[in-house]
Point group: C2
Chain length 191, copies 2
């Protein structure tokens, strides 16, 4: 299990098994049942999470009381409200397990300490954030450049395994669509 | 001029003036006239840009031939298509000067070399990307959680100086609104 984070770090920077053994105690293993809440909106955001297996989603509740999903995290993805985590402020987002999930959690203080002791991890996190930010710009391009129907089919074609394992209403929420609209365009495609 | 990047780096990591003097030749000073293109969609994305003064916007042209702005960069902001820059691939985005602009450009190869020679800059870029990614999640929350009218007034209230200096049609484009819609809600507010 710890091997997984070790291999993920080694995709971007070289660390030894001995170094990783010293890093590992900075993390806490958490297991969540499907639908269990990991973070509740309104709490101070002081943890970051690396998913070992399962799936999380981060969402907020809009004025109409509807859940809107902002991001997903599956195996080897990090998830937190990054701005609130950086500023150590209250988050507007909740994080919930979409499936039974195992993850490694690290507090903000411990992550700071980890980065101080192993500065080579700065490159690991820099690379991950660079990719994540770049992907967020691309997502914005799809939201602004495609019709709702195109957004849905682009997403499900681009990430077929993901689209199969995550409930349709969450995919709809992530793409800014209503579940009814998604049912409608899926039915249209089948007919 | 070079002082500006020096001070910006020192907001996040401590570097000496001597170190900065060694870093500075990695960059090239560029000046752009208002409306001049810095990057054209379809080219390989191999430069990153730090704005000294002025303003840039990154945009793509949608199927209807309309420009959609994805991000802005004013003084002390970095701008590139981060995913294409990371992968060294062709970008779908163009970057253009909104005002006369002076910036420091660095190629991908030189940035890699800079980070190798000054690994403490990994923390600087990690922090900047962490904040940028966090802000992108917050933007997504506004796009998904507010009405079009609320998005516009939230943005112009939150960033009044920015809203004053950037043409309305670009702000509309950035917020996923049409210029006609923005004129309409501004007129409604005045009446």
């Amino acid at each position: 299990m710890s091997k997984q984070l070790f291999h993920h770090i080694n995709k971007y920077v070289a660390i030894t098994e001995e170094e990783f053994q010293t890093m590992f105690p900075f993390f806490e293993l958490r297991t969540l049942k499907k639908k269990e809440l990991l973070v509740e909106a309104g709490s101070v955001c002081n943890q970051n999470h690396f998913v070992l297996d399962g799936c999380l989603h981060m969402f907020f509740i809009n004025d109409k009381g509807t859940e809107r999903t902002i991001q997903f995290a599956i195996e080897n993805w990090w998830m937190t409200d990054d701005l609130a985590y950086h500023n150590q402020t209250v988050t507007d987002f909740s994080i919930q397990a979409v499936e039974n999930t195992r993850l490694l959690a690290i507090t903000h203080d411990k992550q700071e300490q980890l980065l101080k002791e192993f500065p080579q991890l700065e490159k690991y996190f820099r690379t991950i954030y660079q990719i994540s930010y770049g992907a967020a710009l691309v997502k914005m391009k799809y939201l602004f450049g495609l019709t709702k129907e195109e957004i849905y089919f682009h997403f499900t074609t681009q990430f077929p395994q993901f689209a199969q394992r995550v409930p349709q209403y969450l995919i709809a929420s992530f793409l800014g669509l209503t579940p009814e609209y998604v049912s409608e365009i899926r039915a249209k495609k089948r007919s």
